[in-house]
Symmetry: C2
């Protein structure tokens, strides 16, 4: 390995034994270059720390006017709304969108990223799986316009937009203290996701700040069945409030309450996560944490659009604050004794 | 125009002024051929009625092991479930999936089909928009493996899988007659879609068969707001039952009933369309028509997989019968007077 101070396209072409034109096409992920050659040249460029000239990138004529979106689920309406909002923003900018869904499977996500880049999309917005962090870092280093959304990758320089769970969760905990809806049973998302970890931390910090003793926590997952199971477990442990850490577990909580014949907002208090029509379409609509997924989607597209025009984003990490939407799933205090 | 009895690849290459290899690549939608050339050669082949040799297609080495799916919405959970089920089936067969959503927009759908074919997916499953019928017919004539799902294209030879609304709707109408839940107010989908037309016909036929006078009909659309508006209109007209013609209008019906403070299954009867968790997660779960979207998705993938292996499907049109899922949204008769 000859460490060169500033690797050039010419140098890469020379080392790879191809023409400059081929090296340039390979780095632009032009499918006219055989996949094996492209991969080899891209790996070489990444090893050498090559960064294509920004203006050259912007001027390159191989634009497909198409962006790719990578999400872990479409059954989870939160991601369906996110995808649709990104697509709307892209469409207003004259860009088409293609979507890949990986059902939370790392290998499927890796293949999706490979497909999108090898078919020359102009940029990618991705809900990252930590198992794909190396591949994502490499795409970023190669200069592929890439924005992460919803979940963080620890220690990355890739631009990202996530929601900040703290403000919404803090407001919810104060409201519950105020309504004496204690103890709270929190249904946490998986510790392998940044959203799962951050929301649990936010909940625990909010409890400490409110002067509460340690509350009940169920370590669940982003599935309806985990929400159902968690709700039953927490109620057995004496929880007066079920606080769900995502859309899917909120659905599971609803299922458990209906199955037990409990009136939400009367027999049991519920705080849900995300705005969903089905959370409104209850006899007592649910009080929920709103992540403002439309705003996140628009911000992510706007960052991607900038990157595609070779602009650097004004900040690397946009945090969109959550808010509490207060409805009727927490019982009103009937009397006051002081 | 020289009508030739059996157009050959050689003849097309000659007429287009390109080599046989280029003509072959163009017809296989190989992105190595410039898009304009590909389009010109494909149009010429379509004009001449050229059909590539099935075995040659099967042996061609340009397979991407990726299929494309084209749907009109992802917010509508019915399509999110359909996409996920097709993807599961494809994944078991070792194929990746890319998805495009057109939000019921014809131009977006046309661009999606163009993207998918020009990027060499091996086959496409598509919920067709009638405005794209010519483009779809051309893809089919060019030998692109293509299966239509959910909505029909009138008069086409393209393989398709749709659901047959008659059995489910007939069972629902009998049940309503039996429970004296009359008159029925039916919320119909748009007449520009085959599903909208066929379900309305099925409803009207079922009423005639049950010896009912003409029932109330609201001409709506596949949107929650149309369901809300239709429910209110039909209740003003005296409907005792609201029968919604799709998922989105069923949500609108729920919204209207909750807004009016009506207890479903007591003050008003409801028949919904499609199985959705939110239709179960009601104090009285909804009686619904089930389209068996998983079965439709599996059937569509199995047909596509056959076409990709150059097999002819055993029938051109698979109709999956709907069934009625009886729950608790129709009031039990309290007394009998005969």
């Amino acid at each position: 390995m000859n460490p060169e101070p500033r690797p050039t396209l010419k140098g890469i072409a020379h080392q790879a034994g191809v023409s400059i034109a081929t090296a340039s096409r390979a780095l632009a992920d032009n499918p006219a270059v055989a996949l094996a050659t492209r991969t080899r040249i891209q790996a070489l460029a990444a090893d050498l720390g090559y960064r294509p000239n920004a203006q050259a990138r912007a001027l390159q004529s191989s634009r497909s006017n198409t962006i790719g979106i990578v999400v872990p689920s479409l059954i989870n309406r939160y991601f369906a709304v996110m995808v649709t909002a990104i697509q709307d923003a892209a469409s207003k900018a004259g860009l088409a969108t293609i979507i890949t869904n990986n059902n939370e499977d790392t290998a499927t996500m890796a293949a999706s990223l490979e497909f999108l880049t090898s078919h020359g999309v102009d940029g990618i917005i991705c809900v990252p799986d930590e198992g794909c962090s190396e591949q994502l870092e490499q795409l970023h280093k190669q200069g592929t316009p890439l924005v992460l959304i919803d979940r963080e990758l620890p220690g990355t320089a890739i631009p990202m937009v996530t929601s900040d769970p703290q403000p919404g969760i803090e407001a919810a905990v104060s409201l519950l203290v105020d309504h004496e809806a204690l103890p709270i049973g929190y249904l946490s998302g998986p510790m392998a996701t940044s959203t799962g970890r951050r929301r649990l931390e936010a909940f625990q910090r909010a409890c400490v700040d409110a002067g509460l003793e340690e509350q009940l926590v169920f370590l669940g997952g982003y599935e309806q069945s985990k929400g159902f199971q968690g709700a039953n477990t927490l109620m057995e442990q004496g929880a007066k409030t079920l606080f769900a850490g995502d859309t899917m577990m909120t659905i599971g909580v609803l299922e458990a309450c209906h199955a037990a014949g409990l009136i939400i907002g009367e027999d049991i208090n519920v705080v849900g996560f995300d705005r969903q029509p089905m959370f409104d379409l209850q006899p007592r609509p649910l009080t929920v944490i709103d992540q403002h997924v439309d705003t996140m989607a628009q911000q992510a597209f706007s960052m991607l659009n900038g990157l595609m025009a070779a602009e650097q984003p004004s900040q690397q990490h946009f945090l969109i604050p959550t808010t509490l939407i207060q409805r009727h799933s927490i019982k009103e205090k009937t009397s006051s004794h002081d």
